[in-house]
């Protein structure tokens, strides 16, 4: 259960458990599969506090070749554009052929980092991608649209794609992978050496639990009793049975 922090507009982080963001895990897997098909190198970039080192190790254990960790304890001071600019600076030296991101985060849920990063890097992009095919100097991707529609889009490389969950089957790290990960390079960069935080264009004024807009009747207790109460309501109150 999440609780609001009374000292700042954020939640009590002690309530959280940390893991790789779900769509990002699929983006990593897609990178690993593309490498297996076409050779190359998979570099993991992560902006986060020191504890993110754990997630980076996991990505290396799954098969990424090396990593760049933009270390920042106070990511809240950055807006999505500010953060993307730091990432772009860290990426420029790498000159990647393809940048993959998850389509959105499970915490802030902006769904913007990838697209902003593409604009800052000057790359063509496509979002909510369900398939990536490499062609000669170009890629052809399957973009998910609304209501069950899809569309193929072609673009030159280098490019940036935001990846949708479910695009592939995630792998687990092997024991060998975990062992190897310990020897792989993790380059640590501070936000200061990448240009630091500019003035954020948006700020969180207040964080709070959502007010219930609907009056729900919740039943608990033994399943049989709860089920009987629910059925009575459905029959005589909602009249749907």
């Amino acid at each position: 259960m999440l609780r609001v922090d009374t000292s700042r507009p954020w939640i009590q982080e002690a309530d959280l458990s940390y893991e790789i963001n779900e769509p990002d895990a699929y983006a990593l897997e897609e990178g690993l599969q593309l490498k297996e098909k076409h050779s190359g190198e998979v570099v993991v970039l992560c902006a986060g506090p020191a504890r993110a080192a754990q997630t980076i190790r996991e990505a290396l254990a799954k098969g990424a070749d090396r990593a760049i960790h933009i270390e920042e304890e106070n990511l809240g001071a950055f807006d999505p554009l500010g953060l993307a600019r730091l990432m772009a600076t860290a990426l420029q030296a790498e000159k990647p052929d393809l940048v993959l991101t998850g389509l959105q985060s499970d915490d802030l849920g902006y769904g913007q980092t990838g697209v902003i990063l593409a604009e800052v890097l000057g790359l063509p992009h496509a979002t909510i991608i369900m398939q990536v095919e490499k062609q000669d100097g170009t890629i052809r991707v399957k973009r998910e649209l609304e209501d069950g529609w899809f569309q193929h889009v072609e673009m030159p490389l280098p490019a940036l794609l935001t990846i949708q969950s479910g695009i592939n089957k995630l792998r687990y790290a092997t024991l060998m992978g975990i062992k190897k990960a310990k020897t792989k390079e993790v380059k640590r960069l501070s936000t200061a050496e990448l240009g630091g935080a500019g003035q954020a264009a948006i700020r969180f004024a207040r964080v709070y639990l959502p007010e219930k807009t609907k009056h729900s009747q919740i039943f608990d207790g033994p399943p049989k009793e709860a089920a009987a109460k629910l059925v009575e309501k459905l029959k005589f109150e909602a009249r749907v049975l």
Binding site: E154, P223, L230
Partner: protein, 325 residues
């Protein structure tokens, strides 16, 4: 200074969220005491623009160019950057559609601004705009304020505002022809397609039983199938279930699947991520069964049972059979 709402149409047909966003823009305009203009983008938007001309708006901007026939992020971003630079609006609103998610962050970045995406509500405090967003997949809300200079960009979540609140009126249509050259459009969009023949039309079902991650394994699907059978309902699912191939894609409810509004929607083991909620929150009666009392699905539920679905669902099947005699 004004409010500009950029709406989405395709081949002359408005995206349904366009009207919700227009309603949001009109409310904002009234509260901020600012005129509201709307923009339609395409190669020929005369028909959708004249529909907009019948709404309460200061002006309708028909943003037209041959290279805007098919949507591309480069084309849309270039065209709208020019429109915004010319109009200098204070606030720019979009519907939070898949297409907007594809280009609006790029457009805002090109103008050195930050888009506040997926807004569910707003307030005006001392003339200042406060936008409400959801964090942690709907479990937490945040009030967001803009710190820098306008224009302020925001996209509006599906269902957050009511389309039937759009006010009628009369507005003039003004053509805006952006300068776009073909070489700046780097992506090549191909035809739209659907993968499955939609044999199942969930939108026609009176009762839907929908299953989510809480079911844990494909082998457990028959547990909810029995509930669907007892209710005479169609079986549906949240995205992860269809991604795993446990049920066909055509049974998916949510932003990437079908949008349904049956008489009763029973969500079993579905936490209620917004991508799912937008596909079902218009249902008349919503029942949720989930072991997590904090699950966002309970925010939209009329009735709920907090408990282990593997015990609750069989008990419910028994009680329904009894009640139906």
């Amino acid at each position: 200074m004004s409010i500009l709402v950029i709406l989405e149409q395709r081949a002359g047909a408005w995206h349904r969220m366009s009207w919700e966003t227009l309603a949001a823009a009109q409310q904002l305009g009234a509260e901020l005491q600012q005129p509201v203009s709307a923009a339609a983008v395409g190669d020929d938007v005369s028909a959708p623009a004249s529909e907009l001309a019948g709404k309460k708006l200061e002006r309708v901007h028909a943003v037209e160019h041959a290279l805007l026939k098919e949507y591309t992020p480069d084309g849309y971003s270039a065209a709208l950057r020019q429109l915004i630079t010319a109009l200098k609006p204070r606030v720019v609103l979009f519907p939070h559609t898949y297409q907007v998610r594809d280009f609006a962050p790029k457009l805002a970045t090109a103008l050195e601004r930050v888009l506040v995406s997926d807004v569910v509500a707003h307030r005006v405090e001392n003339g200042e705009l406060v936008l409400v967003r959801q964090l942690f997949q709907g479990k937490i809300n945040v009030d967001v304020r803009f710190a820098g200079e306008p224009p302020y960009f925001a996209s509006v979540q599906a269902g957050a505002y009511r389309a039937d609140k759009v006010e009628a009126g009369s507005a003039g249509i003004e053509k805006f022809t952006p300068e776009i050259s073909a070489v700046t459009i780097r992506t090549k969009p191909l035809e739209w397609f659907r993968e499955s023949q939609r044999a199942v039309d969930l939108t026609a079902a009176e009762i839907i039983v929908s299953v989510g991650r809480g079911i844990k394994e494909a082998e457990n699907i028959p547990i909810v199938q029995k509930l669907a059978d007892a209710l005479g309902a169609e079986l549906a699912a949240s995205r992860p279930i269809c991604d795993n191939g446990w049920l066909p894609m055509e049974r998916q409810v949510g932003s990437s699947g079908q949008t349904v509004s049956p008489k009763m929607y029973v969500a079993v083991g579905i936490s209620g991520a917004i991508q799912h909620l937008v596909g079902m929150k218009g249902s008349k009666t919503i029942v949720a069964i989930n072991k997590d009392p904090e699950a966002p699905i309970f925010e939209v539920a009329d009735y709920g049972i907090v408990g282990d679905l593997f015990q609750v669902v069989p008990a419910l099947v028994e009680e329904i059979k009894k009640a139906k005699g």
